[in-house]
């Protein structure tokens, strides 16, 4: 586990985000990309059928139950390059809420407005977005308003166009880049003006509160969760 450096802790507190370049690389990145592409392809037709039936969103696609599909999707939940920071920021009381293994269509199909995910009354809520392919500027990169996670920040309103958000910063990056952010902060997927769908994984965590995730939620992967730390992370012991 790699603990965050003092300057990283300072940035997290003041800006509400951290970027981990090459967070996943080498063989692990290849495993992740291979599993992503295989399962995205294998499950796509079923998703399109659900879209046609009006039962699923038509602008992005999440591989269903990814943790049950390939162990690499479990391994990235507590991946060393960012897991230490997650633990530090949640006082070593971290739980996983869920992964989104997501392919997002390019502009003009996909369009997300600036938003925070949770309010300040929520327990600390953290997301880690991992790029599975290279995401260029204008290719659907993550956008964040530094400092917008603070209770006294703002007020913010959603602009008509992504690039009009005051004070925002965008995060193009290579495959394997991980961006950690406080979900109280205003964020977005910038418009993807390339013709390449953006592949990324969004891991959603929270500081533990009793009963937030039941022991059955991740029971199907318990064989991969033998250590006390993992059992706690996946709420397997209630």
């Amino acid at each position: 586990m790699i603990r965050p450096a003092p300057e990283e802790k300072k940035q997290w507190e003041e800006k509400g985000y951290l970027v981990f370049e090459n967070a996943i690389q080498g063989e692990d990145l290849k495993r992740l990309q291979t599993a992503f592409d295989y399962w995205a392809d294998a499950c796509k037709e079923e998703w399109l059928d659900r879209v046609e039936a009006g039962e699923s969103v038509a602008t992005f696609y999440d591989i269903p139950n990814p943790l049950e599909k390939d162990p690499i999707f479990i391994d990235i939940i507590d991946y060393p390059s960012y897991y230490g920071a997650l633990m530090e920021f949640t006082d070593h009381d971290l739980i996983l809420l869920g992964p989104q293994v997501r392919t997002v269509a390019p502009w003009p199909v996909s369009y997300t407005g600036w938003h925070p995910d949770v309010g300040h009354e929520n327990p600390l809520h953290i997301k880690v977005q991992i790029y599975v392919n290279d995401v260029e500027l204008g290719g659907g990169e993550f956008g964040f308003v530094p400092g917008s996670h603070k209770p006294d920040a703002g007020p913010y309103t959603r602009p008509m166009r992504q690039e009009s958000m005051p004070g925002h910063k965008t995060f193009p990056g290579k495959a394997g880049t991980a961006i950690m952010f406080n979900s109280c902060g205003w964020h977005v997927s910038m418009d993807n003006h390339s013709d390449v769908p953006r592949k990324s994984i969004i891991l959603i965590y929270e500081k533990r509160t009793p009963g937030r995730i039941g022991p059955d939620q991740y029971a199907s992967i318990s064989e991969y969760c033998q250590t006390p730390e993992r059992r706690k992370l996946f709420s397997l012991d209630g």
């Binding site: 796509k44 399109l48 879209v51 046609e52 039936a53 009006g54 039962e55 699923s56 969103v57 038509a58 602008t59 992005f60 696609y61 392919t103 269509a105 003009p108 199909v109 369009y111 008509m160 166009r161 013709d195 769908p197």
Partner: protein
Amino acid sequence: MPRIDAHLHVFTKASPEFPREISDVWPAEREEPVEKLLDEMEKHQIDQAVLVQMAGASIANHRYLLHCLKEYPNRFLGIGLVPEGHPNPADHMAELTDNTGIIGFRFSTFGGPRDIFAKMDVREFAAYPIWKCAAERDYVLWLYPNAMNAHLLPYLIQEFPQVRVVLNHLAVCPGKGKFSWDALGRPQIQVTGYNLTMHTTYRLARFENVNVHLSGQYAFSREEFPYKDLAGWHRGLLTGFGVKRLMWATDFPWILEEPGYGKLTTVIEELLPGLSEAELADIMGGNAKRILRFPDL
């Protein structure tokens, strides 16, 4: 400011003079004529309306609509249909719009790739000639896209920013197999509790030429009038599109028995109670007059 019902249907008995397709819901002997509509409009102070063609897309099938528009030129504007797979839609559209009062056309599929992640070339979409024609001749496109076509719509709107687009019935995109008729002869659309169109048609608010009907509530709601479970949908559309791009409509005649035409004239006040008088007037007719260019009374 006029009060305008921006989407409804009239039809008469099937006859050689007014041929039309028939179905269980509109058998040959059923009629919901324009005079019946005018009675309801009179009773409830509605000044003008958009008559939308149904029961057939051929030129001949449009005769009753054309008759109504000719008889009441200041009261109504019309929306026509284009036969699917028509070899020359531009000719069909031109014939129907030659000083007739028909201002645009309604359809629900665009003929592009099913794969949402496929590379898109709008010029290869089956509906491209219709959109091109609409752009060249200033037609309004009246759209009720099915769920499998929602992802194609932004490509077309981006290609043709000059075309006035009106999304029907709360911009919902019905899913395959989710359509039925209820015991009162009303269309019913089964929708998910989570409003999926927030990710598709609601996002089209960023295109200034896209407008939305606040109508069809009876088809989606799980409640009786005033359909309070859809208040959030209305607020979402108001927030996204703004008060100047929303149009009230009843979808006559399906609503005559339940909840009744009169009740539907109050549905916007019920579901958007915070509107000012001026904002309500815009939705109840001002926007339709401006966007669809209704004649002065």
